[in-house]
Amino acid sequence: MSYFHSVTLDKDRCRGCTNCIKRCPTEAIRVRDGKAMIINERCIDCGECIRVCPYHAKLAVTDSLDTMKNFKYKIALPAPSLYGQFRDLTINQILSALLDIGFDEVFEVAYAAEIVSKFTREALAKGNLKKPVISSACPAVVRFVQIKFPSLIDNLLDICSPMDTAAILAKKEAIKKTGLKQEEIGVFFISPCAAKVTSVKNPIGIEKSKIDGVFSMKEIYGLIIEKAKTTVVRDLSKASMIGVGWANSGGEAFGTFTENSIYVDGIHNVGDVLEEIELGKLNDLDFFEGLACIGGCIGGPLAVENNFVAKNRIRKLTEKLPKREEPLFDEKEIDFGEVKWKKKIEKSEVMKLDKDISKALEMMKQIDTQYKALPGLDCGSCGSPTCRALAEDIMKGYATEYDCIFILKDKIKNLAQELNDLAGKIPPVLSEGKE
């Protein structure tokens, strides 16, 4: 099955260094023939490799702004994190500038986030979900759970993310307002990350996303700054402190109003805590918010501003917003059934060696033997992230033990020694009369 990924490689820029392979949380990258190669099925689109690549060879594929032209009525869905990107723009200035870029309407994802917070509180109160309930707002974390923590799939909050909720609401409202057909209305998410792009193409928990395109925050950034200079500021901001708060890590957890919640950012940290959850050590916890990027969505690989600066800005912006606990929305606008997941989340089998247990264990033994022969330095020079991963790659036939420079060096040393020894051995027929 071919699986779309937003995170891709620019081969021309890649120098074949080993920075990305060492940081990938699912060991999904190898360097082969001097270039990085992403193992598609393992990639969760967290964007760690985009951040760490010194040559900017890792890209997040987003939709072209031209996609807008295919629709009669265009709606921008700015992620809450967009508000933290600009030095002195207010939320209304940013939203007004978006209209000047060519959108007919803006629908704040932060507003939908408030509604998701409300539904989350209701779901937690009902208590039907396995505890701790794990947030499903970060698609990279959901994929991470599928691949590495399949026993926690049932803990995932089975509600659409604010992005998908916003798309449902925005389309419904626009159909009512304009009388246009669903296909004539284009809904575009302005994203801080690659994982959201992938989650639109390969939806989580739903058959099809209502999003028609995902634009990179980086691409829109310059346009907003330019338009903001001349824009007529309109009063468009309607999201509350809780909704905009989702931009930072902890925002979603705050919106659950449960004291027994924790939030963790950075995909490696998320993995550590998921491990604790799987061991049953955090059973007394009600809610777990895990976000792949440091700082939360404001730390996304497509965000422009430094995440710590942006975090503080979001904090300052939210202080001025209404502090209401319940969202403003009309109950008739959307009901719980519309945002509830319709599709079961499947576990991923990509880490499995073989379907047959005894075959898989036989392979494991071969890997163990191979691993013992490797130096255990995890240097990455072979193009695999660790010695263990190289041992696995060798067993699978994707690499050879001479890809390890230390084994190769040893081999050369022995060969040289042998050559030297041989050179000293002059055949008897030649040594005669040579004096």
Binding site: S151, I357, M364
Partner: protein, 149 residues
């Protein structure tokens, strides 16, 4: 044929073993972490993986907290996992009492670290399909099995 299958299933296909040091909280969880990475590569029910890791983790913690040190062996069969945790130490005085949730003999300083809540043995029992404890004044041996249902 039926018999042959049974014999095949009784064969240890893969094993792991570890020494566990008393009071070595720095390496706490390493055994279960290793077990997890092995099991994740097999086509097993995620619940079997989770239960095996919990049972293994609790046994590992018990050796660290209560014994003078011990040894753990994990054997994987065609149809189950067997975890054997063996230690030298004071042993468990009253096994029945120790199996009660919340009963703990862990010293105060260990409880302050967030361990020794008296859930170790009950968790091991709950997460395994078979469990046997033998204990004397010289040490304890716990054997647990988790079936690949």
């Amino acid at each position: 044929m039926g018999l042959l299958v049974e014999v095949v299933n009784e064969m240890v296909l893969y094993s792991l073993d570890f020494d566990v040091k008393a009071r070595d909280f720095d390496s706490a969880g390493e055994v279960s972490s290793n077990l997890r990475s092995v099991l994740k590569q097999l086509s097993l029910n995620p619940d079997v993986v989770r239960r095996s890791c919990i049972a293994c983790y609790e046994a590992e913690m018990n050796i660290i907290i209560h014994s003078y040190g011990g040894h753990m062996e994990i054997e994987i069969f065609g149809d189950k996992i067997r975890i054997t945790a063996e230690d030298t130490g004071p042993g468990i005085e009253d096994i029945e009492l120790a199996m009660k949730e919340g009963y703990s003999t862990a010293p105060e300083e260990i409880r302050e670290m967030g361990f020794g809540a008296g859930m170790g043995l009950p968790n091991m029992k709950e997460n395994s399909d078979f469990m046997d404890i033998k204990s004397s004044k010289n040490g304890t041996t716990v054997v647990m099995e988790i079936l690949f249902k």
